[in-house]
Symmetry: D3
Subunit: 245 residues, 6 copies
């Protein structure tokens, strides 16, 4: 069900069975000494695959380039502007609608992409009323996070390469985690951190925003599975109520 | 040497050894009943890997979305506008320069991307004089193609999912070729084909533009290896003459 | 200290004393049968004035036009696109920097403006390093809200013309509240409300998102004063540490 | 009839009676030592109110930010580009049409806004044929000005913070005039003033372009009332001939 | 001194003698039954040549495409948007500065171009401080027009294919005037003509806005020569005062 | 049949007979010591006239400003960006369709314009299905060139101010050729010339890219006449098959 490897003839067959396409989107961004630059890409891609196993859907190639403002001064970060990212997401939606997709499900692994994704979804809402766009960034999991978390959350809810995200990776892409390098480096955020543009290299030298050493596969599994369940539930409900497009 | 899987710490080490980053770029586009939609992605990605084996370079994640005008009416085609594609390529160049890359090598597997890539390269030429941008679309192979080709070339030099491109796939991504479905379907192009916008679905129903059945791994190997040699030669020359950036 | 009513000669005097300019920004948007369309404008404007009383600052004329996507189908909503709103905010910042302002404080009364404001702040961060941009939307008050609130919060944290916002108005602009028309109309939000574009007229006919009848001036006073204290604290800290621009 | 202070329910009632919305638009710009930076805002706003008293119309909040090129080097000037100003004016027109407005009357107090306003009107003319856009900048008063004026007009018809504009303020916003500071400072304009971009700070140090000391309330009243009469006459004629939209 | 016909070697010689380039710009637009669509092109081009005879200057090829909103519904009108026209004028200015031009003199034959030209001049003023941009549309001739005119001027000062413009053509491009078809067709303009977008085909069926039959070569000669004198005087003054760039 | 010199009444007559408009487009660009800067303008204009003699068509004024990246550092080059050039070409197409043109034939004399022209044609293809856009840059002449050429072609097929282009000029605009200055200056192109942005002033000091001294009128005539025949054949075929628009 991977668009990249299908022929157009096979796609025409699949489209008769499902109108859902899933786009995994992440970013390239420093994630501490223990996680790869493509952490958000691995997470989005594998989450998307797990969703696609539960609900018939075509999976688009992972979009590996995201909006990375806060960490753009650190090696390995590649930053696409919101404007350009939004434009590409609209182009993709426009094209897939043309060949029969009616549900465009964006599974996002990188917080910084949320603005561009929402803007793209709204633009498509006007432009193509027949296309329903969904966007998911680990939906409905905050209470599970509260439950499993052992470290203190940062004020403002920031998390990055921390106990939580490292746990996601231990569950979804363990071969890419250097757990022996996972450190605890919770920064003291300045009081105006949320209220004025602040590149993160000003507040952390390791780009870890929490205690990565506390991460476990089990924590990741719990949260990720809850996210998957929520995504599947929402998509299935929409389909069964036939409250279509 | 794959950017996606490195940590930022590892990247900082690599950057001391090489200033070259390779971006494989392709597209999703119908390629007949025997080749996958992502044909141009597979070709660009594997060609890039082969180049990177010969010349120390960091490989960026494949950009799987290209400019697909001519086949945009056929199932599976995803079309990014030239304007947006160019903008993203400039964003990527701007970011990689920031962390030390000085040679931005775009290996393209899809003809339709050439305009956006060249425009991006020229914009970066003005914007970042210290960044040298290269773009390669099977460079310097026309005489090899003439040599190995058994079918007649189409007027205007068009080729798509044909003897040549299928041969590339048989060499670089054979597991994705359904050779039993490879057909000969050379269309009669109208006389004004090159001189007025003409979506290809008007001239072919299979989107094969030649005789795919004549493809062999050997033909692909010969052409692709020549392309690789040319790319490597050009990059090496630049580096050894130290006619740097 | 109101820019509109000063002469340029008076401004030149003031600039010697303060480098802070406050821009109140709101929107025109339906706020139920009991609150005016300009609710967010009144709130931003009066909050700005109260801040300016505590910290020497020049107050710009209220920008009364905001990004109103969710309620754009209801009478009285005026919707400026994020792109245009951001552009204007950058223009204003560029101009005020030119005549000596070094702290551009945007006090926002309308949730929908947050994206454009943050984008503008980031653009100014690159463009004018000497200008420090702050953006405040009732900062640091969530625990006070939890304390005073009698009604249940909506899932997703949505609030609009409800117990809380009506309380703000009862404190800051009581002459514009028709309290006798304040109703309880907490909608049942569909499960995918946060995950797909949903104009609010699909979920509420009164555009009240909570129990407005529970609003009191005291609740508003408590929350608003906390917001003011936070804003003043952050601005003062920055100034006294002379961690200037 | 002030949109800011109405509820959406009240607006729905008003829309049954009138389809006219008036947008006052001015600018922040140095107006000499005797007039406030917001002179053009006060003039537009109060002129709009006087028109609205004579013809049933909804008055939008004053747009206080204009295109200020010529005086952008003088303290207090805030300059919005023509492109952005036009975009916002189109957004506003698009929104008010949606809730029933059919006549969008822009009352402008600042000469520099005329280009953006006309461009916006033309764009709306194409985009929304059902919306009639009017733009007024003291219409049809040149013969009255000639009649009351005691000072010599500047070549090219430039006027700013002069006998005429100060008279407008003495009539419409006298509480904001420091008449004791009103000076005569008629600059000698260079011969190419109209034919090449020339910031006004190059030709005047006070930004007064004439003899402000000759201003009187009576002169202002005469001209302004003529402008109001012309606006009302044009709007009424359109309405009575039912040569609607 | 015509750029089109010079070699680059000859240009390099000329640049040592003059830093002035003149761009004639007109439009294609209906001009009644007696004047060609390219009337504004002929006028601008020949006026430019006459100026260049009096003051050493390089003449660029005529830009024959202008902003034609008012007559865009009449056969033969070609309408370039203000935005695009401005962009091209900036591109031209940027290029000629690069090869040594320091005075970019735009001689305009079409009223509708004035906005784009002024905007372009202002953009170049910021972008290239060393380039001085002049724009002339029959400068300083209103009193001569008043003197020679036999017909009544239209309210608002509109003129098109009328006594005056036809006289210009009789002087500058008589071979293109069909004087036997010159008619008097002064339209009654509606009262709101200046205050709301009004395509001219709504008010005239011949697109003549006055009495073309009264045109004479002598009238044209008088006005055009005055315009030329003014242009030359302004340019010479600038050069002799060496108040250079 | 020249649009510039027709009245709108005459055009209305012509439109009954032909729906074809030809736009000649060239550029200002250094063409060696023997050819004028406007070489591409002369060629496009005269080629267009010859085509119009064979096929009834309206000829638009020559667009003399093109995309000149490679030679933009040499005196006399004027460079319009692809984006702006494309926009103008779309504006022109949109306008001529409005007055009845159905075939918009762009005859291009400058290689660098090809990208913008093709992009404009594609945009018009979507925007105005009833308008058929053709673009010709010496179509179908490569075998004739091979036949007449005495000098070796450059690798990559580059040609500029060389044997071939000079021959075109000797046939179409001989009065503008300084044949006594025609030189042979075939540059050695660096190996990466086609693969990275390279301004031509880096590889040639005369901007001649071949042996201009070998040019003859006869060679030019042969190639140009073949190009004309091809253009006419394609246009006629389209018209006679009535496979209209």
């Amino acid at each position: 069900m991977d668009l990249n490897s299908m022929t157009y003839v096979e796609l025409e067959e699949q489209i008769k069975k499902t109108k859902i396409a899933i786009l995994p989107i992440g970013a390239l961004e420093a994630h501490g000494p223990h996680l790869p630059l493509g952490t958000d890409n691995y997470l989005a891609e594998r989450l998307a695959q797990k969703v696609a196993e539960k609900i018939e859907a075509i999976v688009l190639p992972t979009f590996a380039y995201g909006q990375v403002w806060s960490l753009r001064n650190v090696a390995g970060s590649i930053n696409i502007s919101n404007e350009h990212l939004k434009a590409i997401l609209v182009d993709i939606g426009t094209s897939i609608y043309k060949f029969g997709i009616r549900y465009y499900v964006i599974i996002n692994g990188h917080f910084g992409n949320n603005v561009a994704i929402k803007e793209a979804a709204r633009e498509l809402y006007e432009k193509i009323p027949g296309l329903k766009v969904y966007y998911f960034f680990y939906p409905g999991v905050s209470h599970i996070i509260d439950e499993v978390r052992e470290s203190e959350p940062l004020p403002g809810g920031y998390f990055h390469a921390c106990e939580i995200e490292t746990s996601y990776m231990l569950y979804l892409a363990p071969e890419h985690v250097r757990m022996e390098k996972a450190i605890n480096d919770t920064p003291n955020l300045p009081e105006d951190f949320e209220y004025t543009p602040t590149p993160w290299d000003r507040v952390t030298s390791t780009v870890v925003m929490g205690n990565a050493a506390l991460a476990t596969k089990e924590k990741g599994e719990k949260i990720i599975n809850a996210a998957i369940d929520n995504i599947v539930k929402i998509l299935k409900k929409r389909l069964t109520t036939k409250e279509g497009v």
